[in-house]
Amino acid sequence: MIRMGRASTAAVVAVAALAVVPAAAAPASATPAPQATTCRPLTDAKAKAHAAATKREATLDQLVGVLHARQDPFGLNGPQATTLQNAKAGITALDQQIQSTCYTAAADLAADAAKLLDDYRVYWLRVPQTHAIEAADRLAEVRAKLGDAAAKLAPHVGSNAKAATDLQAMNASLAAADAMLGTAPTPAPAVAAVTTLQPAHDMTADDNVLNAARADLQAARAALVDARNHGLATVADLRG
């Protein structure tokens, strides 16, 4: 049996103490033990976001088709179509991001999905904006037809006093329409302002511009209706 001296015994105890290293004493620079990272499936929320994106992409395609079918007398349709196509690309990219992101919290997915509404405003802005541009395009087409009709009638009014009066009224209505609509290729200010609108969280300012443009378009249309009626009266006067 080996008998250890008192000093040897103390050394053994010290070495034994060093061997017991509490885990908490590990140096700070070491990588902490990885915590569990769980991607929440959020299947329903992702599907809902994808449906919202797909619906908007289809609407934007439909709006581009509306513009491309027109003559674009004010030169507004082309730039608007480009804007819509860029919006569609942005929505497609956002949708892909949402579908491929590992969300650990539902609130994070909700925040990304909200961008589909706030950042693009397809239904609050792009739909009414595009149809305002379409309305201006259609009204310009009507204006051209009525102007042609007035020009055809003018040489034949002659001494027919009633025909002359009705034709004069027609031309006055055409001038009133021009003030609201503009004269191609220059749109009236309210119509031109519609094309500058951008998506926003607070849509108050955009709404004001849209409402002003719509009021002018309605007034222009009413003036053109009057002009057409006066033109028809002139035709009736000349046909006796």
């Binding site: 239904y123 309305a135 055809k152 040489p155 378009l217």
Partner: protein
Amino acid sequence: MRGSRTRLIAGLGALLCTGALVAGCGSGSTHATPPTAAPTHVSAPTSTPAPSTTPSTTDAAVSAAAQELGGAGASLDDAGKAIDQSDENATKGEEGSAP
């Protein structure tokens, strides 16, 4: 005999000259001379009438204008629909309730 024939020819010439402007009638010539064409110079009118003022052109122009006016009616209807669709209150849907 020669005198009778001369009188006959003169009588025939007189008949030819009746109511007609025939050169040589006044001279009593017994030889009918071929009539000369009357001068046909026509002075230019001071104002050229517009071709559109004739009844046929007026009817055509009025008909064409009527056709333009008719076509404008459908276009006005389409424009009205587009104006209605430019109302953001009718289109904003779920985006209108976004926080």
